[in-house]
Symmetry: C2
Subunit: 515 residues, 2 copies
């Protein structure tokens, strides 16, 4: 299978259908495929060869859609950049993946000088905004207008489709290598459950498109012939307006976004009855939120997906009917048709039902590996089984319940934050003697990043000062939202920080599965 | 992906669900998987190694289901034998594939001596019937009782799953090599359309299980957790009774079978409202039959699948709603999400819409090749595109219409008969000077095999005598049902028999797409 195959099918079956809607701009399938093949020609003319990495830094748009198709069209490799990263993090990913061509939109154009300065092998910057291109950047629309279409190389199967960066437990992000078959297997297997998208529907992209969750949903949309509707980024107002205007049938969101939609007074004033499928991930949905969401979106079926970038990402689904069972509502669901899931101990032995261990998964959706990190790959994947780092148990019917994150990760507003990254940044402050970063419950974000800090004897640093310090090093969403100062951190006999002790006062009675 | 993966998922999620129903015999998922793993152990103890071929000759049953799983469980290769073949044809396929282990049921036990005589490398015969085993054969249930379960080898992906014999244009059957990913891709892609089967439904196997069409449907059932119900073979009475008794939700049939069901007086007397999905293939359905069938099965959605063994087999689908459009009812439908389809000329150039050419298909469902026939493989598959041998055109919306069979094939009651095979048999009769075999319209079978014969000067042979002669050489369903004697066959300038001329008087006004 190959990613661009769906374009040929759409072109054959429905060339006049609207493929993309971006504000006032609409392209039919025929127009969109022509633009993609011209962009592919331009990239090739710029020297991009099969296997070369091409990065993209931008908000959601039809041009992001075209990028996602044009790069594999010539057998090159995607590198969708996390828009919330600091310039230092972006530079790291460009250099690590050696992405010498970068697409940048208006919103991020001001980062170009810093990126050029940090990564001197950056050869080509393509400006995907509408106005004048910044100095030294090529205009996206000029490239499309200036090149004749080239034929699709039909690169696919087990070859590298993209490098998708994810937070690292040891500080730096890791590049997850996914193949065409990885992503399409995840898409077909999810569709085979019948829960995730409508045939030929209208799919809204409000969640950020650089994230694999939305790229996976987009892949599903391509397989069933969706019209894709893009809004630059999630805001409750823009999302509600787009749903009503375009009669959206399918969307991927995180519970934090669903909550904001439901809480918005405008929700009562527009027609939201077109939505048939909401796929959500990152955390379970609370009973009260589900109840309210079902009232606001009367025709929508809610399905939870659990997985991770390394699993392309869908691994378990909690079906719409599963949501009616109160004992299952905090579950992440069961293995999808393309996946196997187990709970294992530290020696990879499967544990009895009900026992907490590490969640591992097997199937054609398991990543090819981490880019240039064979040791990390070997540590994560044993005999084809991806070790998620999540602690969980399984009930007698195969439902997985996530109870802890072995990898010490915080999920805030749908974004993964590895504590180690934040701790590394904090530790660089001259006043910090020791620190531990944990996730604590947050009404808006599910969890928020919280720092527990031990200051050096005789030194001072305020919460604001530490935040300012971190902001220069890591993405804003990773910066601690709150902090406490303590005399010492609780330690195990082996000298390991007992984070469970730190979390305890925050999570008692919070009712979440994460403890 | 690997075929037995669905067993592990079923065992994890629903071990107490009924997996198979065969008359009064029922096995839960846990029982069925245990039997499969014991049978796998027995096969291994009998010397079957990874890659070895294991044949099965029998009517539909739960034991056929167990065979289909136990063989890949140890990494061996399936060879499901066409039950309609003559002993000579069966011997050919056993020898060609070197299948040294053969499972045989009661119905075909009397063929064992002839098969042993014809294929002296046949080492082990396993009797899957219930009574005493024939001399020299092992009892299936003794093998299961006598071996402890072995672990699944989890063989899969592009490795060889089975050799599926199909009629050959040049006389002998060809072994189509399909991988695990071939068959599972076809299953997931078909499911992604939402039309082919219910989640966790009850699937009836009335069409013969040796045939890839039913094996593909069975694969789909495994992916969605169906309970499989087996009847030994299709009869209208047994099929109607099974549907009513087991509240069947999904089944694969050919239009000839649907017609027999609809025509049966018993259809009016039983509850057939449970059927949700009928997948049918081999030929389009007539408008009058569809109308009657919809009345008899009020809740059923009818979907046509087009493909061939070499395409695992699903390549296009005509959806239930497509059936409501009279202009589409004779179409084979459009490319499924895992496939691409084109109409090409003799030089593989794509033809404009509406022009008749050869139907070709591309995707991960394209066979690995023909067993031991690299030339035939190279002839059939160009750059990954399988050449179906079917003539057809495509409309502006990508719907494929089959208008001719370039490979000179007849489809009678869902079985493919290659004219060359029948002509070879006829030509061996001492009185036959020349002959041509064509398909002519038949109210019951869709088409029937018809022979046009030129006798040698001064020689005589009756229609019955020629049939008797053929019956010793080829399967009964290939034997001409009718014949005509002519003085000479119409020839082209190049000396090619003009079959179109022969077919013309039979097909004029028949209203079929096949001309």
């Amino acid at each position: 299978m190959y990613l661009t195959q769906s374009l040929h099918r759409a072109l054959q079956q429905n060339p006049g259908r609207i493929a993309t809607i971006n504000g006032a701009r609409r392209y039919t399938v025929a127009e969109s495929v022509e633009r993609i093949s011209r962009l592919a020609a331009a990239l090739r003319a710029l020297g991009v060869r099969a296997g070369d990495r091409v990065a993209c830094l931008g908000l959601n748009s039809d041009r992001y859609h075209e990028y996602l198709f044009a790069v594999p069209w010539i057998g090159a490799v995607l590198n969708p950049v996390n828009i919330r990263w600091s310039p230092a993090e972006i530079v790291y990913s460009l250099a690590d993946s050696d992405s010498r061509v970068l697409l940048v939109d208006d919103t991020f154009a001001n980062a170009i000088p810093a990126l050029r300065a940090g990564f001197d092998r950056l050869e080509t910057v393509i400006f995907t905004g509408d106005g004048e291109a910044p100095a030294g950047a090529l205009r996206y629309e000029d490239l499309i207008a200036g090149h004749e279409p080239v034929a699709d190389t039909r690169t696919g199967r087990d070859s590298l489709l993209g490098i998708f960066y994810t937070g690292g437990t040891t500080g730096n992000p890791k590049g997850v290598m996914l193949s065409h078959n990885n992503l399409i297997t995840s898409g077909l297997g999810s569709l085979a459950t019948g829960h995730v998208a409508s045939q030929g529907g209208r799919m809204l992209h409000a969640a950020p498109m650089f994230h694999l969750a939305d790229i996976a949903m987009w892949t599903i949309g391509n397989l069933v012939g969706s019209t894709h509707v893009f809004i630059p980024m999630f805001t409750p107002a823009a999302t509600l307006a787009a749903i009503a205007e375009h009669q959206i049938t399918d969307a991927l969101l995180v519970p934090t976004m669903i909550q904001m939609l439901v809480d918005d007074p405008a929700a009562a004033e527009v027609d939201l009855s077109s939505v048939k499928h909401f796929l959500y991930g990152a955390s379970p949905i609370s009973e009260s939120l589900l109840e309210r969401a079902r009232k606001v979106f009367p025709a929508a079926k809610f399905t939870q997906a659990y997985g991770m970038t390394e699993l392309s990402p869908v691994t378990t689904l909690l079906s719409p009917t599963d949501h009616d069972d109160p004992t299952l509502r905090r579950s992440a669901g069961r293995a999808v048709p393309h996946a196997e899931v187990r709970i294992v101990d530290a020696d990879d032995n499967e544990l009895p039902r009900g026992s907490v261990g590490e969640v591992v998964a097997f199937g054609d959706h398991v990543m090819l590996g981490y880019w240039n990190k064979p040791e990390a790959t070997a540590e994560a994947v044993h005999d084809g089984w991806m070790h998620t780092g999540d602690g969980g148990y399984m009930d007698d019917r195969g439902y997985v319940f996530i109870v802890d994150r072995l990898k010490d990760m915080i999920i805030t507003g749908g974004e993964n934050v590895y504590s180690a990254e934040v701790e590394n940044a904090l530790a660089k402050h001259p006043a910090v003697a020791a620190c531990a970063v944990i996730g604590v419950p947050d009404a808006q974000w599910g969890e928020r990043v919280h720092a527990v800090v031990v200051l050096k004897e005789g030194q001072q640093a305020s919460e604001d000062e530490l935040r300012e310090h971190c902001r220069a090093l890591i993405a804003n969403y990773k910066v601690p939202r709150s902090a406490e100062f303590v005399a010492a951190l609780p330690m195990s006999g082996a000298g390991k920080i007992l984070k469970r002790e730190l979390r305890k006062p925050y999570w008692e009675g919070a009712g979440s599965g994460v403890s």
